[in-house]
């Protein structure tokens, strides 16, 4: 048997069923690997070994019973060690959002997505690093230090779900949950050479996802392949009475046996191959498109004419929503308090000292965009353009089943490279933002490496609630290629 942490999630699930390995053994293997690599990577904000071992023991007990009645259904996630982005609440465990303002905040509830994974038998290893309140593309905005990319320790892992991506890429866990508001699952998946799903808006409950941009926030997952990702999606997706924006539509059964893409129409939007895109990214993406063609897909060029407006629209809508979402951090009910004689001073000191600069920048931006006299010109106008961007997708999806494009213009950049230039950092998300604005799902997956041996990612987008097509296409690609099987030397 190979190193346990090198098993795929599905291989591990199968070994658990056969009794070749126990959940405790898998968990211990992951904990050991975390202990060994964490000093270099800093993927975690909190580790939960005690919780993990107790969950693993319970999972083993259930497995023992199950083996007596193997006809009973048992989720593939059962007994599998995973990590959770520190934006998602886990009852009783510190959930900081990478921010000082939530230092030692222990929510008395779990996010629905997390609770559903727990119900499906997962073992939780810890909470992973993130840009503060998911605002960023590199984890450099975390108040607790940057995560390093397993493929190049001087590189960022992407963000904001950078801790989750690094942990999965470094085989510290079999899967991790992330959140994606403007690319925060797909871009780190791309930078770390793994597979990441941004679900459709409304497909997975947002309850317990600490809000950044409420109309854009989605829960996603990161694994080493589409096949590994499917059991997590199945466990999490579906209506939740606690989230009024979560769709009541049933989650379809998804079968990955058939690797044939005959008749699948894939559109390649011309607006995504812009000046400034790294050559190797374009080359890798175009050759991946050829693989899809070889698999039977019909490729055609399409146009999403309002793509260039996605960035300004996103940076009005997300900060506007954030400015309200982050108003609750007033030190009245939770979080550290900077005491002052006067109430207003207490607000100013607490928020002034405990929010990081990027968070403050976005709160200011959003507050401005919603202000009397500016609302129509900024927030109101942004909402109108958002509709145009959504219409672009609706129009294109009349002609094609999937859209194929790069995830980010470049491979992982160096830590500190965009230090003083927020706009350059914002441009990292230029290819991922439109899917959030349109509410459609997207899956990022590795399609090559650049000259520095850094992974190149590509994404497919599908119509709203069309995750099934993403799984089938990416799985078909991954049966033909082995980019997703590469492992960084650590």
């Amino acid at each position: 048997m190979p190193n346990l942490t090198d098993l795929s999630l599905l291989e591990a699930a199968s070994a658990l069923r056969k009794g070749d390995v126990s959940s405790v053994e898998l968990t211990e293997a992951c904990l050991e690997r975390i202990e060994a690599l964490e000093p270099q990577l800093h993927a975690f904000l909190a580790q939960t070994p005690d919780l993990a071992i107790s969950q693993a023991k319970a999972a083993d007990q259930r497995l023992q019973e199950w083996r007596k009645k193997p006809e009973e259904p048992l989720p593939l996630t059962h007994g599998i060690p995973v990590a959770i982005k520190d934006i998602l609440c886990l009852e009783g465990i510190p959930t900081t959002c990478g921010s000082r303002i939530l230092e030692d905040f222990r929510p008395p509830y779990s996010a629905t997505s997390v609770a559903r994974l727990i119900d499906n038998g997962v073992v939780i290893l810890g909470k992973t690093n993130t840009d503060e309140f998911a605002m960023g593309s590199s984890t450099e905005n975390s108040a607790y230090g940057t995560t390093h990319n397993p493929w190049g320790l001087d590189r960022v892992p992407g963000g904001s779900s950078g801790g989750s991506a690094a942990a999965v890429a470094a085989h510290m866990c079999f899967a991790a949950l992330g959140t994606d508001t403007g690319g925060s699952v797909r871009q780190p998946a791309s930078f770390c050479g793994i597979t990441g799903l941004k679900t459709s808006y409304g497909r997975v409950s947002r309850y317990g996802l600490i809000a950044y941009g409420s109309s854009l926030d989605t829960v996603g997952a990161l694994t080493r392949s589409a096949a590994d990702l499917l059991p997590l999606f199945i466990a999490m997706a579906g209506h939740d009475p606690l989230d009024s924006t979560c769709m009541p539509d049933p989650v379809p059964e998804i079968n990955l046996d058939d690797g044939n893409l005959t008749g699948v129409r894939i559109g390649v939007p011309k607006e995504y191959f812009i000046e400034g895109i790294q050559d190797e990214v374009e080359t890798a993406v175009r050759s991946a498109v050829n693989v899809f063609e070889e698999l039977g897909a019909e490729i055609q060029e399409v146009s999403l004419p309002h793509t260039d407006l996605a960035l300004p629209v996103y940076y009005l809508i997300a900060p506007a929503e954030a400015s309200a979402n982050l108003a609750r951090y007033d030190a009245v009910r939770f979080g550290p308090r900077r005491k002052s004689e006067k109430l207003w001073d207490q607000y100013l000191r607490t928020r002034g000292e405990l929010f990081g600069p990027e968070v403050k920048r976005r709160i200011m931006l959003g507050t401005y965009a919603l202000s009397a006299g500016y609302y129509d010109a900024y927030y109101g106008q942004a909402q109108k353009v958002r509709t145009l961007i959504k219409d672009d997708f609706d129009t294109v999806f009349k002609d094609v089943d999937l859209i194929a494009c790069p995830v980010a213009p470049t491979t992982a950049f160096r830590i500190g490279e965009h230090g003083d230039d927020p706009l350059a950092m914002y441009l990292e998300d230029v290819f991922t933002l439109p899917a959030n604005l349109a509410g459609v799902p997207g899956m990022a997956f590795p399609v090559g490496f650049d000259r520095n041996d850094l992974p190149v990612g590509m994404q497919l987008n599908a119509p709203h609630l069309g995750e099934k097509a993403l799984f089938q296409a990416v799985h078909a690609y991954q049966t033909q290629t082995d980019w997703h099987l590469r492992k960084p030397d650590l």
């Binding site: 509830y109 947002r206 600490i210 009024s244 400015s323 609750r328 607000y347």
Partner: protein
């Protein structure tokens, strides 16, 4: 000093806490926050914990639609919740979920009866929002109770159609009465369940232009509202009379000093940065559901008052007294129905003066009244057909209120039934005439004025229980 040259222009916002089982956006029970232990009906949602989301309480929508229909509003098929942003420790999310651009209902009216006749006060909008928590200040620090946080609050905004303080009072009283008729709120003013905000301006009498207005917040009782309005109208009139200018500002009503106090000027006005609540999809209200609620609306106070006048011949005043509360009108009609031979107007009198008086004296709320309508009707019937006289009947009613026994039982046990038997009456008359030969002689000498005195003596002898008209005819016959 008189300011009769100026007339006030008043618009009112009425906020009413709805009597739903659970809060507006979470499952917490709505409790009486004036008596419940602080922070005992709270959860992660109504305390604004990170990651939590609101879910609309459909019952609150139903209540709001009921009110909006009663106020002749147009119900929006699609309305939108919005975030109203401001910082305050009793507002846990840092924003209040309210409605702004697309309210649940708009453009209605409420008819009020003024001395000059009926007047329609236009309703601009009716919308739903969540209440805030409550702050308590103790020895240099403040405590927050979130029991009230998230309780559904209905906001009813009138156009500035009220042109006197009296009209404002009639309007708010009528509105409270409607809210109670619709059973959507307790209307308990003492507990701050209904609160007001007013916008006030004054103008030259007869002018149609609107003056610069001020807004007055935290008016938590009818008294506070009328006092604040009087104060503010007087203040503005004085400023204008002296050639001054009103400054547009937000005022608070300070009960202690009985004056309005400036809170913030126009320049300092809050920018609430309203925007659509992304956590709640637009609210769709099915027209069929609205139609159903419409069909289930009860008769409202004004219609009922007019019907009582027309159907039962009551005075407008009496009808008003009987229709302010739905339960009183229902009681009256149940009593009337149970005693078809009795004049309704008599039942109305006994109910509104005698029964109300006794309940009031005893400190009993009308809804806790132990006298069933059928018993009140029976008592009035006994008076009407002469089984008991009016004086005795009052004693009987007092006993009914305190014991809950039927009037027949009480009349029997107290021996108050009226003496009707002509032979008994004749014998009393004879006894009285025999005892007063001098007065009888006087009468026969032509001093007919003495008749009344003799009548009184007979009634006295009968302990007040003799049928007066029978006594009268027996006395006349005996003196012939």
């Amino acid at each position: 000093m008189t300011n009769s040259a100026f007339e006030p222009v008043i618009g009112l916002e009425v906020h009413a806490e709805l009597l739903t089982q659970s809060k507006m956006f979470c499952g917490c029970a709505v409790v009486d926050s004036t008596i419940a232990e602080p922070n005992t009906s709270v959860c992660e949602i109504c305390t604004g914990m990170p990651g939590t989301l609101p879910v609309i309480n459909e019952r609150a929508i139903e209540f709001a639609v009921r009110v909006a229909l009663a106020l002749h509003c147009t119900i929006s098929e699609t309305s939108v919740f919005a975030r109203k942003n401001y910082f305050y420790p009793d507002l846990p999310k840092g924003y209040q979920i309210s409605q702004f651009e697309l309210p649940l209902a708009h453009d209605g009216w409420l008819a009020i009866e003024t001395e000059a006749g009926e007047k329609r006060i236009r309703i601009r909008r009716v919308h739903l929002e969540e209440d805030t928590g409550k702050l308590f200040h103790r020895q240099g620090h403040s405590l927050v109770d979130f029991n009230r946080s998230g309780v559904p609050l209905l906001e009813i905004v009138s156009e500035p159609d009220l042109s006197s303080i009296e009209e404002a009072k009639i309007y708010t009283t009528a509105l409270r009465s409607i809210l109670r008729y619709l059973e959507v709120t307790t209307g308990d003013m003492e507990k701050g369940v209904i609160r007001f905000e007013a916008n006030v301006s004054v103008r030259q009498a007869g002018s149609t232009e609107l003056g610069i207005r001020t807004e007055i917040k935290n008016l938590n009782s009818f008294r506070a509202m009328t006092h604040a309005l009087s104060y503010e109208v007087e203040r503005q009139s004085n400023i204008l009379k002296e050639g001054g200018e009103i400054s547009q500002e937000t005022l608070g009503w300070d009960e202690a000093s009985s004056s309005t106090v400036s809170q913030r000027s126009k320049e300092e006005a809050h920018d609430y940065r309203y925007f659509p609540e992304p956590d709640l999809p637009p609210l769709h209200v099915e027209p069929t559901w609205v139609a159903q609620i419409q069909s289930e609306l009860p008769e409202l106070p004004l219609e009922k008052r007019r019907r009582f006048v027309a159907e039962y011949g009551l005075t407008a005043y009496a009808a008003g007294v009987l229709t302010t509360e739905r339960s009183v009108g229902d009681y009256f009609e149940a009593a009337v129905e149970s005693a078809p031979k009795v004049r309704s107007i008599k039942i109305a009198n006994w109910l509104s003066s005698d029964l109300f008086g006794l309940l009031n004296q005893a400190g009993i709320d009308f809804q806790d009244n132990d006298v069933p309508p059928v018993d009140l009707a029976r008592l009035v019937e006994m008076v009407e057909i002469g089984e008991v006289n009016a004086t005795s009947a009052k004693t009987v009613l007092a006993e009914m209120v305190s014991s809950g026994k039927s009037p027949d039982d009480i009349v029997r046990s107290l021996g108050l039934s009226m003496i009707q038997d002509p032979e008994v009456i004749e014998s009393i008359v004879r006894r009285v005439l025999d005892a007063h030969p001098r007065q009888v002689a006087d009468y026969l000498d032509g001093n007919t004025g003495i008749f009344q005195w003799l009548f009184g003596q007979v009634m006295k002898e009968a302990e007040g229980r003799a049928n007066p008209s029978a006594v009268r005819s027996a006395l006349s016959a005996a003196l012939e």
